[in-house]
Symmetry: C2
Subunit: 328 residues, 2 copies
């Protein structure tokens, strides 16, 4: 099978590319070719045992999609996006990349005209939802995003379903939980502290906690996010009907639970590196996000996360990102 990853240089894109190169298979199929797209070139490993091509291009450029599908990849992981903060800061860029590039990709597939009908795994987001909420959001709750990024993901979900229904492609949209612990530096998102309060202390650095202990977030580890994507690429989509996007499993985790788990795993001195300083405006913003989901549809289709507790989330970070070590 020939696989294309759009947005392959991002945090999840790199992990997905690495996983596919290690596995050499996807579901039942042997991987024959991997194409990696991003605005910058990505460096594939050189002993994968199959052809890997890196294409550096802007997905929103007029002929980019046609070039990318020229060799007819059967599976397309579409992770390319302007992140939420940037899409809010630059309205036009957000719509150009997060909506127009996606539609252009779908239209290039539609125009292929040779029976080409790839599986598209589209990474949507729980940012498609906006308050006011019930306590738990199920798969039938209306999408009323409160940021442009969420509106753009919602529009792509509608396109994905309609282009699938019309027979142009075989799409599935997975609304990923917030990724925690996100490796790397804080990315400026308002939600960054959920990862910072684990990542920085384990790294010997201070972190700021701007919300009270009862504030919750719907979380999954990077490892689980990759599992969910790979599963979405492998399963039969018939049972979905034309409702092609669905909430993904995760854990509803409070900041207090995170702190307690950090203390029990890494010790009091590590946990003491978190400084509590409640910021009312951040608190208000974060309380507007959905804290928990029902994921019956995803569960029925076999979607699963690895972690079953907040302690697992921290342990997986230590294993996958810190080679088992942290600064005591």
């Amino acid at each position: 099978v020939h696989i294309l990853i759009l947005g392959a240089a991002g945090m999840l894109g790199r992990k997905l590319a690495g996983r596919l190169q290690r596995d050499r298979t996807l579901g039942q199929d042997e991987i024959s070719r991997l194409t990696l797209q991003d605005v910058v070139a990505t460096a594939p490993c050189d002993d994968a045992g199959f052809a890997i091509e890196s294409i550096a291009c802007d997905l929103s450029a007029p002929d980019a999609p046609a070039t990318l599908i020229a060799k007819r990849p059967q599976i397309i992981f579409h992770l390319a996006a302007v992140p939420s903060g940037d899409a809010e800061a630059d309205f036009e860029k957000g719509y150009r990349v997060n909506v127009d590039a996606t539609r252009q990709l779908f239209d290039a597939i539609r125009a292929a005209g040779d029976g080409y009908k790839p599986r598209i795994v589209f990474t949507s987001s729980i940012a498609v939802y906006g308050a006011p909420f019930h306590e738990t959001i199920d798969d039938e709750f209306i999408l009323t995003p409160l940021i442009s990024y969420g509106a753009q993901k919602g529009i792509c979900e509608l396109l994905l379903a309609d282009y699938s229904r019309r027979g142009f492609l075989d799409g599935i949209g997975i609304r990923l939980p917030m990724i925690c612990v996100r490796p790397g530096r804080p990315n400026g998102a308002a939600s960054a502290f959920f990862s910072s309060i684990i990542r920085e202390p384990l790294n010997g650095e201070e972190a700021l906690l701007p919300v009270p202990d009862d504030v919750r977030q719907w979380q999954a580890t990077p490892r689980s996010a990759i599992d969910l994507m790979v599963h979405a690429a492998s399963i039969d989509l018939q049972p979905l009907g034309w409702r092609r996007s669905l909430n993904m499993p995760g854990l509803s985790v409070s900041v207090g639970e995170q702190m307690e788990a950090l203390k029990s795993i890494a010790g009091a001195s590590v946990a003491a590196r978190v400084r509590r300083a409640v910021n009312p405006s951040v608190t208000q913003l974060v309380r507007g996000w959905a804290p928990a989901f029902r994921t019956d549809r995803a569960n029925a289709l076999g979607f699963k996360t690895t972690e079953t507790s907040v302690a697992d989330i921290i342990r997986i970070h230590i294993e996958d990102e810190l080679r088992g070590n942290f600064v005591r």
Copy 2:
């Protein structure tokens, strides 16, 4: 107030233009100017007491929106659309007119740069919903359209909300019920028979009823549809928050109830002009549409239909379209 109607030559557009010319006011405001856009020129009446301009242009042409908003209409009724059957038959035309033209309009408003922030009354549709349903659909039910027209309306709802939230315009989307009795000839839509079985018999003609008596539709008269639009243009939208689209009141009417009311209003000989011939594929299609809605949000904002019974729906048709007469 300067009002612009997009799609002014359509069935509802003409009725709305007529109503505004008769009223000479909208809410508390005197109408100072009325601009009528459609792909064909519309013929305004000549004694409205205010300036009326008809502009014939394709809303999806690149500079059409900028031209149409050049005189800064404060209220824009956006009724322009490729209807559902055509949008299904011509995929590209549907997206060009029903999505791209709308976004182009919103972007032209955003680009005005002089504090211009018109009220947009966007006519959405219950076609944004798709089976499987609960018995009743409320304002929090997810939009999962099963026709491209519905996907296009759903995308515009997301744009309307996001552009409103960003402060570019002041939008409200009203999901109109199916219009019954629709005047004129059957328009080829699969739902056309709901109007035909009333309209044709009153006109001395036969009509075909392709579904069993228990099949239901969510209906409003053309008169009520205009009332709902005018109300949407007049009210304070603050209470909506950023959830700018809402289900509109209507009546859940079964075909059997329609037939009974026709018989009691017009007599058995008129009702006998309806020929029952159940078509299983039409029946299956129509059973996939939402038969009833909860409209709590619209009710709280004062949206109301005139009719309170299926008999009213027929009487209003006889009054408004047949000058009180029908063929006995």
